[in-house]
C-alpha cells in the first residue's frame, strides 16, 4: 500500500467475481472508491452485499478479478505482505464482534499490542482516546456482555480505528440500532472521516443513513448479479433510468402512492 501517491484511488476493484463454493453471486464487478470518500454498497437482502465485503477484506477469496488498495493488489499479494496491508484496514462487524473475554480497553489495545512498538502506558492512553472518540470514555473496564448493542458497535469501531487505518469497512452499522443511536453513529463516521481523513466503505440498506452521509453509492442486484447503479444517491433517486434503483432509494414511494390513503388533517 502506498498512500503517498495521491492520484491512486483508495480501492480499485476490477473484474471481481464473488461467490461461495462454485456458486457465483456477483459477476464482473468494477468500481473505484476515492480517498476520503464515504462509499455505500446498497441493495436488497440477499443480493451479496456482505459477500462483497468479505471478498474485499480477504475473508473470502475471489474466483476471478482483483482488489487493489492504493494501487497495490491485495488478493494476489503474498501472505506476509497481505498482513502488512491488513494493518491499514479497519473492519466494523455487524454485532461489533468484540472478544468477550477482554474488557473494552483490552479489546482496543490488542491490535496495538500486536502491531505497534508502543509501551503499555502509551497503548492504554491511545486506546482510551479511541474509546472517548466514539463516546465511550469511562467504560474501559466494562466487558462486552455488560453493554448495549449500540455501545458494542461503537466499541467495535474504536477497535477498528486502533491502528489508524486508511480504509474502514462497516458491515450494516445501523442494523439493530434505534434511529437516534444510528444517526449518532452516522455523525461519528463523518466526524472521524473529516478528522482522520480515512476512506469509509459502508454496507447498508438504511435509507436514512444513505441520504445523510453517503458521498456515492453502488447498488447491487440479485438478478443482474452485478452493479445496477453508481453515483450520488440524491441524484439517483430522481434521475436514475433504472426503476429498481428509483424504487429502492424512494422506498417504493411511487408504487405505494396509489394505495395509500391520505391522513385526515387534525
Amino acid at each position: 500500500m502506498n498512500p503517498a501517491d495521491p492520484t491512486l484511488p483508495a480501492i480499485d476493484v476490477s473484474g471481481l467475481d464473488c461467490g461461495y463454493d462454485g456458486q457465483v453471486l456477483l459477476k464482473n464487478l468494477n468500481f473505484q472508491v476515492k480517498r476520503g470518500e464515504i462509499f455505500f454498497v446498497i441493495g436488497g437482502s440477499g443480493c451479496g452485499k456482505s459477500t462483497l465485503l468479505r471478498h474485499l477484506i480477504g475473508l473470502n477469496l475471489p474466483t476471478a478479478g482483483t482488489v487493489k488498495f492504493f494501487g497495490e493488489c491485495f488478493n494476489e499479494a503474498a501472505g506476509e505482505r497481505q498482513r502488512e496491508m491488513l494493518k491499514r484496514i479497519g473492519v466494523l462487524y455487524q454485532g461489533g464482534a468484540l472478544w468477550s473475554s477482554l474488557s473494552l480497553l483490552e479489546n482496543v489495545m490488542l491490535p496495538l499490542e500486536e502491531y505497534t512498538p508502543l509501551n503499555p502506558s502509551e497503548r492504554a492512553e491511545l486506546a482510551c482516546m479511541k474509546l472517548s472518540q466514539v463516546g465511550l470514555s469511562g467504560y474501559d473496564a466494562y466487558y462486552p456482555s455488560e453493554i448495549s448493542g449500540g455501545m458494542k458497535k461503537r466499541a467495535g469501531l474504536a477497535r477498528a480505528l486502533a491502528l489508524d487505518p486508511a480504509i474502514v469497512f462497516f458491515d450494516e452499522p445501523s442494523a439493530g440500532l434505534d434511529p437516534l443511536t444510528s444517526r449518532r453513529l452516522d455523525e461519528l463516521i463523518v466526524t472521524l472521516r473529516d478528522l482522520l481523513g480515512m476512506t469509509c466503505v459502508v454496507v447498508s440498506h438504511e435509507l436514512a443513513s444513505i441520504f445523510a452521509i453517503a458521498d456515492r453509492v453502488i447498488m447491487l442486484d440479485k438478478q443482474e448479479k452485478g452493479i445496477i447503479a453508481n453515483g450520488d444517491p440524491r441524484v439517483l433517486v430522481k434521475e436514475s433510468k433504472d426503476l429498481r434503483v428509483r424504487e429502492f432509494l424512494g422506498r417504493g414511494e411511487d408504487a405505494m402512492a396509489g394505495t395509500r390513503q391520505k391522513q385526515p388533517s387534525p
Binding site: D5, P6, S100, E125, L126, Q133, S145, D164, G197
Partner: protein, 376 residues
C-alpha cells in the same frame, strides 16, 4: 491519514536552536506500526527555554505523531517550558486536545470486591444454585408425570435421535474402555490370587466387580464426558440463540420439549451400554487369564457364572439407569441455565461434566449403602 503529499521518507525530527527558542521540525512518515523517536532521545542534553513545534515536510502521519507531540507537551509542562504548538494543523490540534482530556480525566476504575462481599456472594450463589437444581428436578418430575398421562405428547422422534447419538454412537469408545478395564482388573487380581494358588478366582473378582460396579460406572463416566457435555452445549447454544425463549412464548415447556426426550434416551441407553460393557470386561478378563494364568476360557466362563447371579446384574443395571438420568439432568440443567454468550456455553459444558461426575460418585456411594442394607 490526512492529505498525503508526494514525499515519502523515514520518521525524522530535526532540532534548530534559535536564540532561546528550540525549533522542533517534524519530517517524514509517522506510522503507529513503526518505531518513532522518543522526545528524550531527540532532546539529549539540551535544555531549551522555549519550544516550538514546526510542521516540516510530512508525508503521512497518524497517532504516532500525536503521541510524540503529546510527549513534548507533557515534558514542557513538567519542566515549566513554554511550548508553541500553533504551527500544527487543526486536525492534529483537535486530536491532541482529545488525548489531553482523556489523559487528565482518566480514572482507573477498580471493580474488584472485598473479601467479605465475595464470601457473601459465594454463599448466596450456593443457596441460589441449590434452589435452582431443586426447581429443575421438580419440573422434570411434573413433566414426567404429565407425559405418563399423555404419552402421545412425548417427542419420540427426538428421543430416538438422542438414543442413536448417546447409545449406538458411543459403542466404540465404551467397547475399548470396558475391554481395557477388564484386562487391567484381571492383571491386578492375577498377581494377588497367584500367591494363594487361587488363580481361578480371578474370574469371580473380574465378573463381580464388572457387573456390580465398574460396568455401570465406566459407562456413566464416558457418557458424562461425551453426552452430558453435548447436552449442555446444545441447550446452551439454543438459549443463546433465543430458541428456548421462543418455546416459552409459545407456551411449550422447554423441559417437556427438550429435556424429557434426552433424559429418557440416556436412562434407556445407559443400562444397555452397561450390559454391553459388562460382557466386554469379562471378555478382557478371560483373555488375560488365558494368556497369563493358562485358564481355559470355558473354565473361566463356568467360574464367572457361579460367582454372579441375576441380582448382581440387576443392581448394576439399576445403577446404570440412575446414572444415565443423573448425567442427563446435569447436562440439561447446565445447558438451560447457561449464560447467553460463547463463553457461557463453554462454561456450561464444563460444569455439566463436573456435576455429572460428582452425581455419579455420590449416588454410587448411596447405592452401595442401600444395597448393603437390602442385602442385594
Amino acid at each position: 491519514m490526512p492529505e498525503p503529499t508526494t514525499i515519502a521518507s523515514e520518521t525524522r525530527v530535526q532540532l534548530h536552536a534559535q536564540g532561546e527558542w528550540l525549533l522542533v521540525e517534524l519530517q517524514g512518515t509517522w506510522r503507529i506500526t513503526e518505531h518513532r523517536p522518543s522526545w528524550a532521545s531527540v532532546l539529549a542534553d539540551a535544555e531549551p527555554a522555549r519550544v516550538k513545534i514546526v510542521w516540516g515536510q510530512l508525508a503521512d502521519w497518524d497517532s504516532a505523531l500525536l503521541l510524540f507531540v503529546f510527549e513534548v507537551r507533557q515534558w514542557c509542562r513538567v519542566k515549566g517550558v513554554y511550548c508553541d504548538l500553533s504551527d500544527l494543523p487543526d486536525a492534529l490540534q483537535k486530536l491532541l486536545r482529545q488525548l489531553v482530556v482523556v489523559n487528565e480525566t482518566r480514572m482507573v476504575t477498580d471493580r474488584s470486591r472485598d473479601f467479605l462481599t465475595m464470601v457473601g456472594l459465594a454463599a448466596q450463589d450456593v443457596w441460589g444454585k441449590t434452589k435452582e437444581i431443586a426447581t429443575f428436578v421438580g419440573e422434570c418430575v411434573i413433566s414426567a408425570a404429565g407425559l405418563l398421562k399423555k404419552p402421545h405428547k412425548f417427542r419420540w422422534r427426538d428421543c430416538l435421535d438422542e438414543m442413536q447419538q448417546c447409545g449406538a454412537m458411543a459403542l466404540p469408545i465404551v467397547s475399548l474402555i470396558s475391554l481395557l478395564v477388564g484386562l487391567i482388573m484381571a492383571y491386578q487380581s492375577a498377581v494377588l490370587m497367584r500367591q494363594f494358588g487361587a488363580d481361578i478366582y480371578v474370574a469371580d473378582a473380574v465378573g463381580l466387580v464388572m457387573v456390580r460396579e465398574m460396568g455401570a460406572m465406566m459407562t456413566a463416566i464416558i457418557l458424562a464426558g461425551r453426552t452430558g457435555a453435548a447436552f449442555a452445549a446444545t441447550l446452551g447454544n439454543m438459549k443463546a440463540g433465543e430458541e428456548i425463549d421462543a418455546l416459552q412464548t409459545l407456551g411449550i415447556r422447554p423441559v417437556d420439549f427438550l429435556v424429557m426426550p434426552r433424559l429418557v434416551a440416556l436412562g434407556l441407553m445407559m443400562p444397555l451400554l452397561a450390559l454391553y460393557a459388562n460382557g466386554l470386561g469379562i471378555l478382557g478378563g478371560m483373555a488375560v487369564s488365558k494368556g497369563l494364568l493358562n485358564i481355559p476360557p470355558a473354565a473361566y466362563w463356568v467360574e464367572t457364572l457361579t460367582a454372579i447371579d441375576l441380582s448382581d446384574i440387576f443392581t448394576g443395571l439399576i445403577k446404570a439407569s440412575a446414572f444415565g438420568v443423573l448425567v442427563g439432568l446435569a447436562g440439561c440443567h447446565r445447558g438451560l441455565r447457561a449464560d447467553r454468550s460463547s463463553a457461557g456455553v463453554g462454561r456450561a459444558a464444563t460444569s455439566a461434566v463436573v456435576m455429572g461426575l460428582l452425581l455419579i460418585i455420590v449416588s454410587d456411594a448411596v447405592f452401595a449403602v442401600m444395597f448393603n442394607i437390602l442385602g442385594w
